[in-house]
Symmetry: C2
Subunit: 178 residues, 2 copies
């Protein structure tokens, strides 16, 4: 098992760059996945993540009913699956099967982790006040995992219409910012 605990206090470092995420749920024993780019950090620790999930997505009902999900971060090697997942509905397709992805058990939530991704944030829905108006959910990350076997993964960043910017080099500038 190459999945290692990742400190909750550092979750913002995974999400601030703005990678495409795969949100996994499990509802009535049926796992599902959706592709997502509309999310933001809202608090460092415990880490809060705000995200918009359209009511047109099959995952909307699963998240509303179960109040649990996993945010998985795919690397560039999964770009075809990321697009494929975004172009079909869990109401018709078993996406784990169709895209040959591995559902791993999470520790704090019933939703599965996607084994092929390099990071996994187990989340519980903690605020639904903005769901009616904006489909905006506030999630608390209750457990985080990183895959020690994936070195320097390149994240995907959606530019619209199937265009993705791939993460480039990292620079470091002396800073007092978190």
């Amino acid at each position: 098992m190459t999945k290692k605990t990742f400190p909750l206090s550092k979750v913002y470092r995974l999400l601030e760059p703005g990678p495409v995420l795969l949100l996994s749920t499990s509802h009535k024993d049926k796992p599902n996945i959706m592709t997502m780019s509309w999310q933001t950090m809202m608090e460092f620790e415990p880490p809060l993540v705000g995200c918009v999930i359209s009511g047109r997505n099959h995952s909307f009902e699963a998240l509303t009913k179960t109040k649990e999900c996993v945010l998985n971060i795919p690397s560039a090697e999964l770009a075809q699956q990321v697009v494929g997942i975004g172009n079909c509905s869990g109401s018709k397709v078993d996406k784990f099967k169709k895209f040959k992805l591995t559902a791993l058990p999470a520790s704090q939530v019933a939703a599965p982790m996607i084994g092929e991704c390099f990071a996994h944030l187990e989340c519980k829905v903690v605020d639904t006040r903005m769901v009616n108006k904006y489909n905006f959910f506030v999630l608390e990350v209750v457990k985080a995992w990183i895959d020690s076997a994936q070195k320097n993964p390149r994240t995907l960043h959606h530019r619209g219409k199937g265009q993705f910017m791939l993460a480039g080099e990292t620079i470091k500038i002396p800073s007092r910012m978190a």
Copy 2:
């Protein structure tokens, strides 16, 4: 003038990849700038953007009082200024002067555009219900600009502690996603 109108319907393509932003305000005739990475798209058109602005930031009061700002997107050439802006307070420093940045008049809001950035989203605060609990503002983009002189700008993506991922190459995969 190389600043050209950019269609509101395409604003999400600028923000979905998750670039670092420079948020500019003007309060009591004093312009100010802050560095920001905690934002997400919330609606395509009119474009809504949700963002977290800590009460510790001088910009918090300006945004609360004036309900206007500009979200400017800097390219990698501005990395030093982006960090410098994030490491000092507008309560003590005129950041436009200190960082030799150009305040250009916007069209719909009193907050200035930062001339050296390659895109500018003029915004009005449209929902403050989540400000008390999360410092979370909902902004509507009322006018967008792009700088036609900056070709293929590389955006900055904050990884924490002054580390920035620079935008790499773009790939295209056939997709029906927006």
